[in-house]
Amino acid sequence: MTGLSPADSPYYDAEYETMSRDRLADLQLELLTETVAFAYEHSALTRKTWDAAGITPADVRSLDDFTEKVPFLDKDALRRFRDERKDPYGGVLCRDQSELTAISSTSGTTGDPTLVPEVWGGGFVGRPAIMYRDFWGMGVRPGDHVALFLFTFRGPTYGFVQQLGAIPVLFDYGVDEIERLLRCSLQYRPTALYNFGGSMINATEEIAARAGIDPRDAFSSYHAVVFAGEPLGERARRLADAWGIELFEHSNVGDVTACFECPAHDGMHFWEDMAYVEGIDPLALDHRDAQPVSGDRVRCELVATALSNRVAPLVRFRSDDLVEIDRSPCVCGRTHARIWTIGRKGDEVVVQGASVLPVDVWAAIESVEACRLGLFQVVRPNRESDELRLRVGYQDTPEGRLGSLVEEVADAVRAAVGVEPVIELVANEELLRLGPPHKIPRVTAR
């Protein structure tokens, strides 16, 4: 499979990527109506949740009905259902177990990974979208090499590269693979790299110097370097700029779909024929008092519904993710909405009345040379705390200098958030072990 559009088109599927908002809304209502009927009929958790709210799919005749009447699901509800009913799929599986091809899992950053049942080649309705439209938009074309710097828990991600007519060059996600990535980049001249986050970019500087490779040469063939999992700090952005890398941010959208930046770099597009995404008041207790946040670029909690998944569709899945959404047209010509991630609602710690999210201390920590990989955790036994406790990763520091390093980090954090932190230093390796490989839990209870 290659593009549905000519090779010189910036769009993989011009018709769908640029369709009018009115037509998109009609398509969404059509897909949503199918999805809710399907999920209510086949998903035990959806039926239980809807029955408790006293509604059926017949009550959903419009997008307004949907947002007013349909109750939320969240990850705790899935885990509860899983444990109570001994259902490993948390009550969302809509197929007979014997029909499944694969059972993958979520990253598990915020708790035990949950299972993701899949039917390869028959689990989705609609047109190819996620990854296909995004990487085509970044300039990947048939015959290109694409470097994949990833883990395996999502299954064979290289399939989309091959479906685009390109050739995957395969690497493990980890610092140990960076030198090989640089050498193979010089050899195969890939046009895209997926997924290369802040810690990897920061580590590349030293590894490239040791290997005698100029990162500008190694990365000169790339049209796009995609990063995900965590925000990118200032240091990594500076390095990427210096090496001539064009970075594209990528994220998960409520465990339902994914989003990627387009070449305009003004938010991450998610494909609205794949998911119906809403923003709600983060403080809402349930769907009855969840005020929709409809203004563009207003902070809200993301709620997502799968429109094309016919294996285990999540309906009104409340993500805990704080985001901003913009549905106005993008200068790239795509009409699908864009999103900006802010952090996780559950990650906020209130210290002496001041709200602190991991993103607020990130730049301060990685500005300290020994902590340049930006590895740290907020230790948060409770949402409200008298002190800001941070566990911070370091490198290249003899034991006798750790006392002054603590002071240096504390000074930087205090200057950033105005709160005196309590710093615990640990070796970077200790934190990296806490994976999943592409990110570490940024908030921990102890």
Partner: protein
Amino acid sequence: MAWGVGQYEVSDRTRVAWEVGHDEIDRAIGAGSTVLAGLGISAGDRVLFTSMLSEAVHFWPLVLATMLAGAQLSCADAARGEARRVRMFTRLLAYRAVLGITPAVLDGLDELGADYTDVLGRVPVIGARPGAYERLAGTGLAPHDFVLAGPAVAIATEPGGPAWVNRDEWELDIDDGWVTVTSRRPRLTGFDRVRTAVRASVVDGHGLVPARSWPDRGPRP
């Protein structure tokens, strides 16, 4: 056009880029189906693969053969931090086979305080890589040798027996204790007595028995 570019390890542990063609992968899928059938994997079973992305050229044929057999598959990285995922899978679902267990995964289970027999004891076929084999066997489990010998995958058909590569594709020999690999059919990347990172004895030119590093203490099978 190539299917992809993976890597294999040579005797000094260096990783060498390895370009593989679609027809090579197709042949490996066919051979993988035979191997899985020999391990008793059939429709309705489940297989958990523990591998790294750079090993996809080795593992994809087995993944697809699993699907073609009508069995279901799951994936986890063969890494320390993924032990939690491996434990989660085997706790929630019944697997016929877990293939590719590495010492790193076992290190991760140790860190979690998880007993190998609790995590893997209900799994009939455990494919363990060198270093992991000894640790599992030491707890009373009966692993199969599962060895990436350079570009070739060698899998034992029974616990304690030699691990076999596809004899139509690969010929094994020994060079100073290291297993060498020679390709027997045309490939995008040819191999002529390439010294792999595996120390073993070779059986009949296509089987191998890895040199063991038994733990200092504890029982040996």
